[in-house]
């Protein structure tokens, strides 16, 4: 049967080679399970989203009530709605871990630049999807979040008068955010996850061309450095996914609205602005950067630049080794960067005044300095500590590795027996 298919469309062959026999480094840790977890999240969002769309009304008059209807009347609507709303947050938790994993272990370095840049595009598409999805419940935060964020484009009026206003009205389909805006956001919110799906396929394709990075940052050299994906990596992925699903279920069942904002339980009112507008938690660091810059256009540029800059880091980091594990100086800057991002997230949730603005400026400065100054300079001057000669050596130690035939292709053929 598989043979019959393979002669016509070699799909079973490809799946077997890419997801069963595929060589994975034998030293992957649990941070490598987040790619699979993200794939799960994407599928979960698509499945729950399609169900919600069957009951949701994308109009200014009905949207808010139809959400109530889903949560109260539709059979298991409460469950599916909570899965989708909580799922968005879970997706971002996973993607942030996934990105920081890549940053720490140098997974963005050659030959994985395209893989990394596809990741940045996926991240952007995720942000756009989440932003438009948050508009759909048509509560006060939905409405005013959309108003404030779409108004960012009006700062282009500072470049060409009238350009910003024209773009904003084009996005709105009117002279203010309205049901028309809601309608088109719904259409795009349905579309974008499938665009992400396509990008993820390219992402995984690029991954399978370059091969996976691993905690040592050194490539697979001999057969004993790798294990077939099935059952080894798959089993590990399953354990990671299981733990993640427990956390996910905890939120869905016990704290379904914890990550949301109470103002969104009030229907959108174009005449009253809530006193303190905040985006969803996963946008807070970028919101803090936006508000840290005193100039309207400058803030918008800084916010977009903070994401765009990620696409350039494969060329900003010039260290001879990939993994921060072997980089005694850079390692500390990595943690400083992580702390800056968390601090920016906290500051983004605070009103833009006084000390909050001061610290937001300091951490914004470090955010950019990390990539533009620290990365190129530290990577040029630091002497990495000694890396193991092979992945096998990193796992088994030098003697055993010699036994396993690391670095000796002839011995490598016999390696499987040693495992």
């Amino acid at each position: 049967m598989a043979k019959w298919w393979d002669e016509r469309l070699p799909l079973p062959r490809m799946m077997h080679d890419q997801f069963i026999d595929f060589p994975t480094p034998r030293n992957l840790n649990y941070l490598w399970t987040f790619g699979g977890i993200l794939t799960f999240c994407l599928v979960a969002q698509i499945v729950t989203g399609i169900v919600l769309a069957m009951h949701y009304q994308p109009s200014a008059a009905e949207a808010f009530n139809s959400l109530d209807h889903i949560r109260r009347d539709v059979n298991y609507g409460w469950l599916i709605q909570a899965m989708h709303a909580v799922g968005a947050s879970m997706f971002f938790i996973a993607v942030y871990i996934h990105i920081f994993r890549g940053l720490y272990y140098g997974s963005y370095r050659a030959p994985r630049e395209i893989l990394w840049i596809l990741g940045v595009f996926i991240f952007l598409a995720m942000m756009a999807t989440a932003f438009m999805g948050y508009a759909l419940p048509w509560g006060q935060m939905s409405f005013w979040g959309v108003t404030v964020i779409t108004n960012l484009f009006s700062s282009l009026d500072q470049v060409i008068p009238g350009l910003g206003t024209a773009i904003v009205q084009w996005l709105w389909g009117g002279y203010s955010v309205s049901g028309t805006t809601l309608n088109r956001f719904f259409s795009l919110h349905y579309l974008l996850p499938f665009v992400i799906f396509g990008l993820v396929i390219l992402h995984i394709w690029a991954l399978h061309v370059a091969g996976q990075n691993n905690p040592t940052g050194i490539e697979i050299k001999t057969k004993s450095d790798s294990l077939p994906m099935y059952p080894y990596a798959v089993a590990k992925d399953a354990v990671g996914l299981f733990a993640f699903v427990i956390l996910f279920a905890w939120f869905v069942l016990f704290l379904p609205d914890y990550l949301g904002h109470p103002d969104n339980f009030t229907e959108a009112n174009p005449l009253v602005t809530p006193p303190h507008i905040v985006p969803e938690w996963y946008f807070l660091p970028f919101y803090a950067i936006l508000r840290a810059i005193p100039d309207k256009l400058g803030g918008v540029i800084a916010m977009f630049a903070s994401i765009a800059i990620l696409a350039f880091i494969p060329w900003l980091d010039r260290s001879p080794v990939r993994s921060a594990k072997y980089r005694p100086i850079y390692k500390w800057f990595f943690w400083l960067f992580l702390i800056s991002c968390l601090a920016l997230g906290y500051l983004g949730s605070k009103p833009a005044e006084g000390v909050y603005v001061f610290w937001a400026r300091i951490f914004t400065l470090y955010y950019f300095a990390h990539f533009l100054i620290v990365m190129p300079i530290v990577s040029s001057i630091e002497t990495p500590t000694k890396t193991p000669r092979s992945i096998t050596e990193a796992v088994l130690g030098e003697d055993e590795a010699a036994g396993a035939g690391a670095g000796v292709p002839a011995g490598a053929a016999a390696a499987p027996e040693h495992r």
Partner: protein, 189 residues
């Protein structure tokens, strides 16, 4: 066939002409797909609205909707007008009047109102920073440091002529096109 070999450029002309034709055709189809997103005829039809302002007593304000946006109509007190008139244009963050009836003039109080109706200030009630609705319409609202309006989103203060005095907003509150149909009736748009 022989003709092609002797005069190969004849084919180039066909290829270029056909490609140009296809490119122009495709390009001209892009615009409808872009323009369909712009405000439609229905949204534009709501472009004008008439309001009876006789019930608004001195010191009070009302908010009406125009093109889906709130419009502030304030019946200013003598002191408020006085305060606005006294402020020199050189003190203003945005020295342009932002008045659709009278564009590009200095932002004096005279240029932001209609002669003979100075007590009436009519403005789009949308903060020029990121689009929140400033406070200051209700009597109990905070009116900011300059007695006009205060936007709580990122802290912009507007004076009694709706001009930006402090905070991140770049421009004075916009004055929509409007006319007095009578002493107690205005048409916006």
């Amino acid at each position: 066939m022989t003709a092609d070999v002797e005069d190969p450029n004849r084919r180039d002309v066909l290829v270029v002409a056909a490609s140009a034709f296809a490119a122009v055709g495709t390009a001209s189809l892009i615009w409808p797909f872009v323009d369909q997103m712009n405000p439609d005829a229905g949204a534009q039809a709501l472009a004008s609205t008439e309001i009876d302002i006789s019930p608004v007593a001195e010191g009070q304000a009302i908010t009406v909707m125009w093109r889906g946006k709130p419009v502030f109509i304030r019946h200013r007190t003598a002191e408020e007008i006085e305060a606005a008139k006294k402020t020199p244009v050189s003190d203003l963050a945005d020295p342009i009047d932002r008045n659709d009836n009278n564009p590009g003039q200095p932002a004096t109080d005279e240029n932001r109102t209609i002669a003979g109706h100075e007590q009436w200030l009519v403005m789009v009630g949308i903060c020029t920073h990121l689009g929140c609705i400033p406070k200051g319409q209700a009597l109990s609202d905070s009116k900011g440091d300059y007695g006009g309006w205060f936007c709580p989103c990122h802290g912009s203060h507007y004076d009694t002529a709706g001009r930006i005095r402090k905070g991140p907003a770049p421009r004075n509150l916009q004055i929509p096109p409007y006319t007095f149909l009578s002493d107690t009736k205005i048409r916006i748009g």
